[in-house]
Amino acid sequence: MLWKLSLTSLKSRWKDYLVLFSGLTLASAIFYMFMTLATNPSFLKGNVAIAFSTTQCVYGFGIVLLALITFIYIIYANSFLLSMRQKDYAMYMMLGARSSKIGHLIFIETFLVGLISTIIGELIGIGLTQVVSNILITQLGLSITHFIGFYLPALLWTLIFFVILFFLAALWNRHKLVKANVIDLLKENQKPIKARKNIALKIIEAVLGIILLRVGYWAMANVSTLVLNSIPLALVTIVLGSYFVFDSFFILLIDLLRRNKKFKYSKLHSFTLGQLKFRINSYTRILSIVSLLFALALGAITVGLNFKQITDQQMESTYYDVVLFNQNQKTKQQLKKVVVTSKTKVTYKIAGKYAYVSSAQIKNANLKRNAFVGKTDEIKYKTEKITPNDIKPENSAYYEFAEYIPYQKEIKVVSQTKYDQIKQNSNETILLRVKDFKKNFDNVEKLQKFAVPKGKNVEEQLNSSKAASYRLILNIASGFEFMGFFLGIAFLAMLASTLMFKVLSGANSDEPRYVMLWKMGTRNKLLKTSINWEIGTLFALPAVLGVLDVLFGLQFFKSLLAHPYNNIWIPFSIFLICYLIYYLITVKLYQSIVLKKIK
């Protein structure tokens, strides 16, 4: 009988359940996708770069972060479920159902809802992985190949992870219903407002919060002096600072607005402010979490998209684009496909383990190189001339020059007379600078491959070419870009839905207030405006703090990327538009709950 009752009420609230289901499905789909990308060997093998341990470490870090946010997300989704159901269950208890029976019911319901949505989510995840990875790969011009959406271990891991989470959630719900008083459950929404706190304490807390944030931002910017202390210091101060700011600063701000009578006594302002103050008290934790996740997600996208910069940096580190060790039919053909802007000739003679070059020729050839002139937190190159004097093993120019001569010989710079006396054939290497190295990279890379020297150690010679290192960096950057983008969007989806669930789980208890305002003669439009502002503020506050976190936090990446702030409007707009869509959905859903009785 209770099962039947429970199913009936499930039917009558299918809309709310749909929201819950789609949210949970999304979570497991995202988790599956990321697990597949991070652990699928065909993905790993297809990517040279992924084989690097650092990248694997980054992916591992990504999994931990994703698991953490999923955990938080499930807590809020679960509280939404509980808020929907507790009145029904309390009613059954009032009618005489045993609390153990009710506990059993909520346990099964939570677990089933979780299990079903996980399985559906995994199915969607398989499809999405295929589609999204294809789109990302082509859209971003990533060099990722061999990719299949289905991967059994990821499927199992996702299932196990979610089953554990929902088992815990189910236990929690059972505990909450069995322990709680029936009356408390029925009258949950009639809790009195918390007593007002000491204003002086709030001011101290607000100031402390801002100071902590400031210290955190400073730590991020001064990674070069703080080195390893930078991250933990920033983490602790920013987490605490965000919490303090939400717990005090915004409440003070609302109080300040409430004191402005002209503002307060206009339209529904006093009500909106009251709602906000009422909420922020219970939202402190979630707003801090959301602002941090917001920063992480936006940061991941921004840094991810900017990671292509390291390919530019790589390009800048070498002056010559192609080294023609050898000219043949193939290179001649291929040369037609690139536009050469400058040509420099290096001649040498090989005798035993030495390669001889003439100092006069080097002078005449006007050889150049891009020397690193940056500091630890700045990446900068300057083009300089290579003089015969530079070609000594203690100079970095020596090693650059050595790459223009095949077979890894030791270089000796000699006078022209001495050079002429060496009884060996004179060989030449042509150094080219080409137009559109990046745009025409495929052709440049081919040309370099055709122009390898004959004989042994060819692979090594090829690997040290600009084309090869560019390809390598491109792969790493693509991997990071892909992951940054993916994690960023996944985090965004989760954090925005977390906030959505928090807002919606309060909707049922907010409803009588809106009905009341309507009865008093408030126009529908005004009610909606009030809702827009209220939820808008709840969405905007963590976003503002999150954006600040990112703007300051990008300083941290100065040692890795030359211009971390380049084009930040692109990730920022992508991100904010997605966030805005979530806001609009939340407003619509919230309105459909609180205004449903209003004709």
């Binding site: 009865k519 003669g521 126009r523």
Partner: protein, 248 residues
Amino acid sequence: MTKVVQVDNVTKVYGKRGEKKYEALKGITFDVEQGEFVGIMGASGSGKTTLLNILSTLDQPTSGKVLINGRDITDLNKNQMADFRGQEIGFIFQDFNLLDNLTNRENIALPLSLQNVKSREIEPKVDKIASRLGIKEILAKYPAEVSGGQKQRVAAARALVHDPSILYGDEPTGALDSDSATELLETMKDLNEKDKVSILMVTHDPYSASYAQRILFIKDGKIGKELNRNDKNREEFYQEIITELGRR
């Protein structure tokens, strides 16, 4: 005398086309004069809540006319209805219906804010009605911090702050203890007699009803009987109501 409320043959039928119909109101006709205190009594399901909803534009009659202050409220659009409630009607509900996230002062000020009254005019008005109802000391508190009787006074202040044409009470004493109930009823009587506030109160409690000057008994969607207090004192009127109730 002018009529504040004129109800002419109002019916209300629930149930959509093809469904089983239920007639909640079967042709109700009555008036409320300016400055009158009218009680409407009836058992649960008699239609008194439906009637009050129609009189306050929260619901539409199926047929018939309702005029408040001479204005037909049955052909207003949504916004006009909302504005009408905000300007012409004051409500006191059984469960107070105060907003728990606003202070009592803010609660009382709300109807004025909604009508775009200038902010500097709002506080004097709130203070005036609050002292009239003896709740000046609790204005800075939140509803959850005051007693049930005080809450209902705050609700009454909110209902009257914008000088409505009529005050509707929907079981206003339903959630109060007997002392608080008496206090509130005395206040309502006082407001009616001294400030000439027109009151229409729906109740099933004969004690509350005995404060009215005239009582309409509603039964099965129709007005059955009308009792007038005339020169009787409250206790005598109370006895008359009890007798009338016992008759059914």
